[in-house]
């Protein structure tokens, strides 16, 4: 009978009593105690062979004096690999396992102390981060409250301003309409006057013998009035226009003028300086040239600007639109019936317009302010929704960017936003992930997931997993690509430091039984 029961934890020794039959822990079978550690597996749970490799699911306890006792799978017993620092798993093997427990304990304690110190320092920083985050959070909450209050007020105010604007615009419109009506009337009267002038002008022009009557001969020389240009301008045709052999001024006014006014041309030798008459049928070319030039210059300008910068497109487009305002709205078609310019509004209307303009501006300003506040509220709410850790310890890292330099690439992670890969030899930045979520339990907050990056050729979209570990500074210490386009980063941050580790007292002789 063995005096030492191999592979059994002290706490379990009571289950193995040499004078009594042994029962498997699962209660399935009882057997003579000789069957315990006899290198044959009897119990389905492996409990009869704590000290041999006989049971596929057995467990072997190494005491590891001077260090920590551990349980290893039975398959480690006698396999030639030193798994226990006291070498007890290889008790009957040829290979010699040195007892490394003391060295291991020393090393482990040193490591643990280093870790503890690291966590201690880290936790101090983490606490700062937390209090900063809390302050920010309070500030933000307060700000949000303020903003919401403000928004409420401003929305009421906005309504008032909208009403005021509407009122002012009503008055403005009425006054403007009135003014325009008057101007229309005035213009109609003037047009009538102008027609009279023209009639007189043409009559006098035609009445070459000054007899206050237009004869057939006088009109006949104006061949441009002949509707059928292919043949002669006959007396009959002229007579038809005149409505008889001659026409007095009144007759001319009532019947002839309207027939000829559109075709009539002055005989060239009677050049006058008067440019205001007959313009309707003259060529409009002189007006065109300068506008064309301006336009083409403008095209060049915009083109150049487009080539020069590429990230200012929006502004450029706005410029284009404002430039357009100075351009003719129609090419070629320059027909403006009148050279008349409407007179300024009267003082009263001007005043009303000014008032309306003012009301509009006030309203628009107020509206913009409301939008700004709404946006700020939304941003604040969005940020408040992000899980920054159980103590908000990651909050201050929001949108902070950190780089990791590798042989070919710089990797950049902007916390809770995006991660990217920037080739060092030039070439464009590739987004390898957008903030998605934390990892899964139990160590949820030690893993950050950035997913849905740019898709790989022939593959999935890129993604980055960030493993967080305790460090005094925020820094990425390693980036790899274990599977193509699936990146993994190790990132040190005080936020990942653990106050439990930091405060764990150092025990030289721990005998933890796992």
């Amino acid at each position: 009978m063995r005096t030492v029961l191999r592979g059994v934890k002290r706490s379990m020794l009571s289950k193995y009593i040499p004078s009594k039959p042994f029962t498997c822990f699962d209660g399935s079978i009882s057997m003579p105690f000789d069957f315990v550690n006899d290198d044959y597996c009897d119990c389905r749970d492996g409990s009869d062979e704590p000290g041999t490799s006989a049971c596929p699911n057995g467990q072997f306890f190494c005491e590891n004096k001077g260090y920590v006792g551990i349980v290893v799978p039975s398959q480690f017993v006698g396999d030639g690999v030193c798994d226990c620092c006291d070498g007890s798993d290889e008790y009957e093997n040829e290979i010699v396992c040195n007892n490394t427990c003391f060295i291991l304990a020393k090393k482990t304690n040193e490591q643990r102390e280093t870790q503890r110190l690291l966590h201690e320092q880290g936790v101090a920083k983490k606490n700062e981060m937390i209090s900063k985050a809390n302050a920010f959070k309070a500030e933000r909450a307060q700000r949000l409250e303020e903003l919401e209050e403000q928004l409420k007020r401003l929305e009421v105010d906005l309504q008032v301003k909208l009403d005021l604007k509407n009122q002012a615009e009503e008055l403005e419109t009425a006054s403007k309409d009135k003014h325009e009506e008057a101007w229309e009337e005035q213009r109609a009267a003037r047009e009538l006057l102008q027609r009279d002038e023209q009639i007189k002008d043409i009559f006098n022009d035609l009445d070459t013998n000054q007899d206050k009557s237009i004869s057939i001969e006088e009109l006949k020389i104006h061949t441009e009035l002949d509707d059928e240009k292919e043949n002669e301008f006959t007396n009959d045709e002229v007579r038809t226009i005149l409505g008889g052999d001659s026409a007095t001024f009144d007759e001319f006014n009532s019947t002839v003028f309207d027939q000829i006014s559109n075709s009539y041309k002055k005989i060239t030798q009677t050049v006058t300086n008067d440019q205001t008459t007959g313009t309707e049928s003259s060529n409009p070319t002189p007006l065109d040239e300068p506008s064309k030039v301006t336009r083409s210059e403008n095209y060049d300008e915009t083109d150049n600007e487009k080539y020069d910068s590429n990230d200012m497109d929006d502004i450029d487009n706005k410029d284009d639109i404002s430039n357009e305002k100075d351009q003719p709205t129609s090419l070629g078609h320059t027909k403006h019936v009148h050279d008349d310019i409407a007179p300024d509004f009267d003082e009263e209307t001007k005043k009303l317009i000014q008032i309306a303009d003012q009301a509009r501006k006030v309203f628009e300003d107020a509206e913009e302010k409301v939008q700004d506040i709404k946006r700020e509220i939304e941003d604040l709410k969005k940020r408040l929704e992000i899980d920054f850790g159980p103590e908000d310890e990651f909050s201050t890292m929001f949108n902070e960017c950190y780089n990791y330099e590798e042989r070919e690439y710089t990797y950049r992670v902007c916390m809770f936003k995006t991660a990217s890969q920037i080739p060092k030899g030039g070439g464009s930045e590739v987004v390898i992930g957008h903030w998605e979520s934390w990892g899964s339990e139990p160590n949820k907050y030690s893993v950050m997931k950035y997913t849905n990056g740019v898709s790989c050729w022939n593959g999935p979209s890129r993604a980055l997993t960030v493993q967080l570990q305790c460090g005094i500074e925020h820094r990425a210490i390693d980036v790899r690509e274990p599977t193509k386009c699936k990146y993994s980063m190790i990132f040190e941050t005080p936020a990942a430091c653990d106050k439990d580790i930091a405060s764990k007292p150092l025990d030289q002789h721990t005998h933890t039984e796992f």
Binding site: P56, P73, V81, T483
Partner: protein, 857 residues
């Protein structure tokens, strides 16, 4: 006819159209084999005869000839073999078991031999009209200069009274070869095919011009030793017995009365070389395997760890990655023996070098892995990067070691490292030089636990015609690639093997995996089926492909678990692990663009299923190892078609959904998604099959619906067999070398069973050189189980013992079990399980190496 020696007859045959003369040599060989060679009698250029394939000059046996008439010569050789050579028209008929007509050569008169000729036919012969492509051929943008003109040979080989032929790998097609009536012929030409199609006669990475035929009475084989591009047409015919001349007809007269017999006509065509045909006349499947093995060699016993589980990926990125993957197996308690490094581990695909940024300390990495009894494998491809600063290139360039273009300059092509050149292994000096690159001195960073992988050795040339060498590149000895193409890859892995053998001074067994292969590759390498895909159809194709390789001599074969291209879903990968755990070479491998797929990445439940599959593999390693020993000794492949074990069961002839491991395990891998039952054929009249998990017995000669779930790997142990297992778990195979053995005895209808166990140190040649091995026979008969030595000369020290004996199919609870070994006697305890009729004998205790008898009363 001229008798050169007894067993070697020589004839001259003449092409009556152009009077070109050919020499025909007939060799009657030991073991019911016959060789026939046909070559030009006076060629203007020596025709290539394949080297490096035949292991030993085959032994002749005497032949007794007699003239049947002026046209027919009959010869008797061996115990029961006969041939009849007909002179006009030329034809050869072969008989086994005296009367059984099995093979007829040129009975369809397709024999065609393009003799070497001068261009424009100025030799005064009746000119064969020059046709397009005879002197130059273009393919896409490539031109084959064909400097020696047409040189092909074709002949018909007819398998009389057969309905199934097998072999001629490598094709992703059914095991029983299909008629090519409506398709291209099966093609033999080593090429690197990107994302190959399945159910297709197209050529793949390797070629073995060896075909087997099997029917109820006989198995035969035909091997044409030729390394040029080959095409084989297969048609199923009916042979009218009326047309056979009387002498032959008599041979059927006694057994068959039908007027028609099935016949498979195979039409073989090679682009060049000679006719060098070996006919293996069986008559049993095991005979045919042995006969072919005598000519081309067998797979030497691999190191034990080589048949355990391998973890590979393109690529494990750096030393940390390797460390973490190893730790993953430890953490998840999944056994694993070998970690692999693909091309990215090198400095810019310069083989024999390391990317020192990622692998700064490769020796330490290997040693750290070796602590767990594990090995590593690195890749070494045949393309050599053109870079004067790369020592291998610079050396080889200086020594003129590269394959040449037709104009005599070094042939340059494109592969992984960019512009590359290829070593000319045909030159023995280069072969040896390459081998010595694997010495520890030359391969810096390699250790004794590092082994090799030769990929891309068809060779793959990205910008070559059909992604390989142009046929007019020139090898040592003025050999055109046209003549030797299909053995280039084999020469590389043979040289690698020599390198590994030499580095241990002949002590350690090398391990090499190759993608390209030829007949004879089995002697120095394991083969995998190349770049398959993560699809159910590809999983299903694994069994036919591995069977085709197995029956043509390549014993250590496997397919990439999970599929190389694309990502397998969890069900597919679990089923693939389950299937591969019962296939000879068991390696997970994946393309660089795929997601990681280490066994623990598919959720806890799938991790458990994968662990179970791998653990199951490890429990059967003593059986596998014994089978590989038998492969070395008897050329009997470990993975077998059902008909190799049940040759008379006609139902098995087309089966390639299931297979045998040795003669004792029937495996039906599940290769469909979401199945809850499978229809399994249990072969063998009067045979009982025991489910290895539930011990439920099933009767042979029946097709049964078997209910399955995700745990199921339908595997059955044949009643009448004894399988040694190691049921204890270990992290790797070499750490279990002294672990005790459990014997699983499954009784047949006569309450009998037999089995074997081979054991040695698992990695050296001491089993050969010092006879350090144990080879036992277990026999259960008359209620006695005895262990006796199959080779008393073998001695091997081991602490391994028999810890458990399980007897299935035992009718009643025994009164008493006792065991005797020499003068010692013991009464081990036992338990009996009524429902399954299973006796479990507890701790009988004899050492593996002793004789003992266990008596049940």
């Amino acid at each position: 006819m001229k008798t050169v020696t007894n067993g070697h007859l020589q004839f001259v045959i003449t092409n009556t159209q152009n009077n070109v003369k050919f020499q025909l040599d007939l060799f009657t060989l030991e073991e019911n084999s016959l060789r026939m060679k046909i070559n030009e009698l006076e060629p203007i250029r020596k025709r290539y005869e394949v080297q490096n394939v035949i292991v030993n000059e085959p032994k002749l046996v005497s032949v007794t000839t007699s003239k049947l008439d002026v046209n027919q010569l009959e010869g008797h050789f061996g115990k029961t073999c006969r041939f009849i050579l007909v002179s006009n028209p030329f034809r050869l008929d072969l008989f086994t078991n005296e009367n059984v007509f099995v093979v007829s050569v040129n009975s369809k008169q397709l024999f065609n031999f393009e003799h070497y000729r001068k261009k424009q036919s100025s030799d005064g012969e009746t000119p064969l009209h020059d046709e397009d492509g005879m002197w130059e051929e273009t393919y896409k943008t490539h031109t084959d200069s064909k400097p020696h003109g047409p040189s092909s040979i074709g002949i018909d080989i007819n398998f009389v009274n057969f309905e199934n032929v097998y072999g001629i790998p490598e094709h992703a097609d059914s095991f029983s070869l299909k008629s090519t009536h409506d398709t291209d012929p099966y093609r033999l030409f080593n090429v690197d095919v990107f994302e190959y199609d399945i159910q297709n006669p197209m050529a793949l990475y390797g070629s073995i011009p060896y075909m087997l035929a099997h029917n109820e009475q006989t198995s035969v084989g035909f091997f044409w030793l030729n390394a040029a591009e080959g095409w084989i047409d297969i048609t199923n015919n009916k042979l009218s017995t009326k047309n056979l001349f009387s002498t032959i007809k008599n041979f059927f007269g006694t057994t068959k009365v039908e007027n028609e017999l099935p016949e498979i006509t195979t039409h073989w065509m090679f682009e060049s070389g000679i006719f060098d045909g070996f006919f293996f006349l069986g008559p049993t499947p095991r005979d045919v395997f042995r006969q072919y093995g005598l000519i081309t060699g067998t797979t030497p016993l691999p190191p034990l760890w080589a048949i355990a589980y391998h973890q590979c990926r393109w690529n494990y990125n750096d030393e940390d990655d390797i460390k973490n993957v190893n730790a993953g197996f430890e953490h998840h308690m999944i056994p694993m023996d070998v970690l692999w490094l693909d091309i990215e581990h090198t400095n810019g695909k310069r083989y024999f070098t390391w990317d020192t940024g990622k692998f700064p300390n490769p020796e330490k990495m290997q040693q750290d892995i070796a602590l767990y009894g594990r090995k590593m494998v690195t890749i070494s491809d045949p393309h050599i990067k053109k870079d004067d600063n790369y020592h291998i290139y610079a050396d080889a360039k200086l020594k003129q070691y590269f394959v040449k273009s037709k104009d005599g300059s070094d042939y340059e092509g494109w592969c992984w490292p960019g512009s590359s050149m290829w070593l000319d292994y045909f030159n023995p000096e280069i072969f040896d030089w390459y081998a010595s690159r694997y010495s520890y001195q030359h391969y810096k960073g390699s250790t004794s636990t590092l082994f090799l992988w030769n990929d891309m050795n068809e060779p793959s040339v990205f910008n070559g015609p059909e992604v390989t060498f142009p046929k007019d590149v020139v090898h040592y000895g003025d050999l055109e690639n046209r003549d030797v193409h299909n053995i280039y890859g084999m020469l590389q892995h043979m040289a690698t093997f020599k390198g590994l053998l030499d580095r241990s001074e002949g002590r350690e067994r090398p391990f090499i995996l190759t993608r390209s292969f030829f007949a004879g590759s089995q002697r120095t390498a394991a083969v995998w089926t190349g770049d398959n895909a993560a699809q159910w159809s590809h999983l299903k194709m694994v069994v036919p492909m591995l069977l085709s390789l197995s029956v043509t001599g390549i014993g250590l074969v496997g397919a990439d678990v999970g599929g190389f291209f694309k990502n397998p879903d969890p069900k597919l990968i679990v089923r693939w692990y389950q299937a591969a755990s019962f296939q000879p070479f068991f390696r997970e491998h994946a393309h660089i663009d795929t997601a990681r797929r280490e066994p623990w990445l598919f959720g806890d439940d799938n991790t458990r299923l994968i662990r179970q599959a791998i653990e199951t593999r490890y429990t059967y390693l003593p059986y596998w190892y014994t089978l590989f020993y038998k492969q070395e000794k008897q050329a009997l492949p470990p993975m077998l078609p059902l008909w190799a074990v049940f040759p008379h069961d006609t139902q098995t002839f087309k089966k390639d959904d299931s297979f045998m491991i040795g003669n004792s395990l029937l495996v039906y891998p599940i290769t469909d998604a979401d199945v809850t039952e499978v229809s399994i054929y249990f072969p063998g009249n009067n045979t009982i099959w025991y489910d290895i998990r539930t011990f439920i017995p099933y009767n042979g000669s029946e097709t049964l619906l078997i209910t399955v779930d995700m745990e199921s790997i339908p595997v059955y142990q044949r009643g009448g067999s004894i399988i040694p297992q190691r049921l204890r778990k270990r992290r790797s195979s070499m750490l279990a070398i002294n672990d005790p053995i459990t014997l699983i005895v499954t009784l047949d209808k006569n309450n009998e069973a037999r089995g074997e166990l081979y054991m040695d140190d698992g990695h050296t040649y001491d089993y050969k050189k010092k006879r350090q091995f144990i080879y036992r026979r277990f026999l259960f008969k008359n209620n006695e189980l005895t262990s006796s030595s199959l080779n008393p000369n073998g001695k091997f020290d081991t602490t391994a013992w028999i810890e458990r004996i399980v007897i299935m199919g035992y009718p009643r609870n025994p009164n008493k079990v006792s065991i005797n070994s020499g003068e010692q006697t013991a009464i081990p305890l036992h338990s009996y399980h009524d429902k399954q009729k299973v006796v479990i004998i507890r701790r009988p205790g004899p050492s593996i190496s002793t004789d003992w008898t266990l008596t049940i009363s």
